[in-house]
């Protein structure tokens, strides 16, 4: 009963879009790291980013949840069949997920930083323990995953030098999981960047731009020299390239295992 409350609340307050083709959207962000016992350094605009993203995406898609600070758990990105993981009923139960906070790399593993929780004491999650968009028959699919599009407003989330090494295995584990948008290098926490999620939502969902165009446009609208990046996959070089360049938010998963990944980034 408690687990379905986010959906009920969304509908009750009229936050969801009515379209039969509407996707489910969620967001999580942390500004007050010290408040959940993590010493990552507090931020000032990540909650604005997710708030503005949800407000705008809600014009066309279903708002399912937005958790901030101590309610934004690292475990929400960790597979629920692993110890403490709560990607079911949270992170992997929506089609579009926007996360904003700290992030970094350890070799070919991406570390995202949200808050710790009572059942998951780590101050981060990592791509070694995420199974997103897994279908029945795939590993860890007791609760199949829904996630298709992941936006990571953190540093080093899609690093140009090893994006394939980090995200190729994650795509492999979940056939519904199609696209990651993030940053190569650092990303800013600034009053000049609070609108990036909102701009993306407007262009991808409202104006029907491709994901690549919408994400780079949202990044480019900033001054602080953030460099955007993204990655997708396909069954061949041309298929992966097409998906990277042409995929839109209304794309549906094919169910194929990825044989290629294609990525793009800002440089200069």
């Amino acid at each position: 009963m408690k687990r379905i409350l986010p959906a009920i609340l969304g509908a009750a307050f009229g936050l969801g879009a009515a379209s039969a083709h509407a996707l489910d959207a969620g967001a999580e962000s942390v500004e007050n790291y010290s408040g959940c016992g993590c010493n990552s350094g507090n931020l000032s605009y990540t909650n604005d980013q997710t708030s503005m993203f949800m407000s705008r995406i809600g014009n066309w898609h279903n708002r399912k949840f937005r958790y901030t600070d101590s309610s934004a758990w690292n475990s929400d990105m960790v597979e629920d069949e692993l110890a403490g993981g709560t990607d079911y009923p949270y992170g992997d139960t929506v089609h579009i997920l926007f996360l904003s906070g700290h992030g970094g790399l350890s070799g070919n593993t991406y570390n995202g930083y949200l808050c710790k929780s009572s059942n998951f004491s780590g101050c981060n999650y990592n791509t070694g323990s995420v199974y997103l968009g897994e279908r029945s028959g795939q590993a860890k699919s007791t609760h199949p995953g829904s996630l298709r599009f992941l936006l990571l407003a953190t540093c080093y989330s899609v690093e140009k030098t090893n994006a394939a090494d980090v995200w190729g295995p994650v795509f492999w584990r979940g056939k519904n999981f199609m696209y990651v948008m993030g940053y190569t290098g650092t990303s800013a926490d600034s009053t000049t960047t609070d609108e990036v999620g909102e701009d993306f939502a407007q262009k991808a969902a409202g104006d029907k731009w491709t994901l690549k165009q919408a994400w780079f446009w949202a990044i480019e609208d900033w001054w602080v020299n953030d460099t955007g990046s993204l990655i997708s996959h396909g069954t061949s070089s041309s298929n992966a390239t097409y998906n990277r360049d042409q995929m839109k938010i209304d794309a549906t998963p094919t169910g194929n295992s990825p044989s290629w990944v294609a990525w793009a980034w800002h440089e200069g």
Binding site: G41, N42, A72, Y113, P169, W172, A188, H233, V261, A264
Partner: protein, 325 residues
Amino acid sequence: MKIDMKVLGALVALACVASGASAAQVEFDREALRTTPERLGIGMGGVASYELAAYDFDPQAAQKRARELFGKSPAAAKARGARVETVDGKDRLKISAGPVEYEMAMRSGGEYLLDLSRYAIAEPAAKVPASKDLRATSDAYVKAFLPGIDAKEIRFVGFKRIMDSATELGADGVPKPGAATTSTVASYVALYERRLAGVPVFGPGERVRVYLGSDGKVTGHSMVWRKVAARLDTRPVVSTREIQKVLVERHAKNTADRITVDRIYFGYLAQGRYSEQATLSPVYHVGFVYGPESKRVFETFDAYTGRLIEFARRDEPSDDKRAQR
């Protein structure tokens, strides 16, 4: 430069004094100083503020502007002959023809024109365009198609590129060992900034971008360039050194272990295209990181007073997960 380094040395020492058992150590990276008054050669005894003209949005003027660009801009070739559609949004007017999209922001007059069949998408090119040719093309485009820009205020900053790459995966989604990975340019973006009496204007507003395809041809532009109504009184600004002291004092009780300041900019902060803005006043925009996995946190200080500027928040309350469990 020597002066800057002396300032840095002095302030690192100050930070060490200020830091305690539960306080952050504030350090200044040697590359932190970007556009400071000292580097720009701006006299700190008097820097002006500017009053910006209120923008009076005229939908007919926006339609006329779109038609002009659709008819003449090299970025809009695919608009010619296509059916024109207009979408009237809350804060923007969008006019499309084929794959070409023009938008004017109602609160600032900021506009963009993009051929979406070419923006961020690589096109076959016989050869990689030379930088000088890209620059000449973008300069000529600005001059021909972006009116109302004082040549003394616009300054070319550089190019950004959107790069594409792909590689083959092996077992478990790991890239095949030795698989070829090629990287190619999908598109170029020429960046121009605005300077008022030598002081840069930064933030999401007051700048121009010209988009070029991988073949070097223009695929669109973006411009936010508010009209200056009047130059207001000049006032003294605090020095970079003073701002550094403010930072050290401000973060003396920060619970993070370490703060490394690696960006200090001086200039006017311009709001984005969908915001009204009445004045431009000088600020220091300072960026720091907590460590290798930290976002770069920016804080803005009034350059006249040295005080932190608190911006309006747009954060709504979180859904209550704990109550639902």
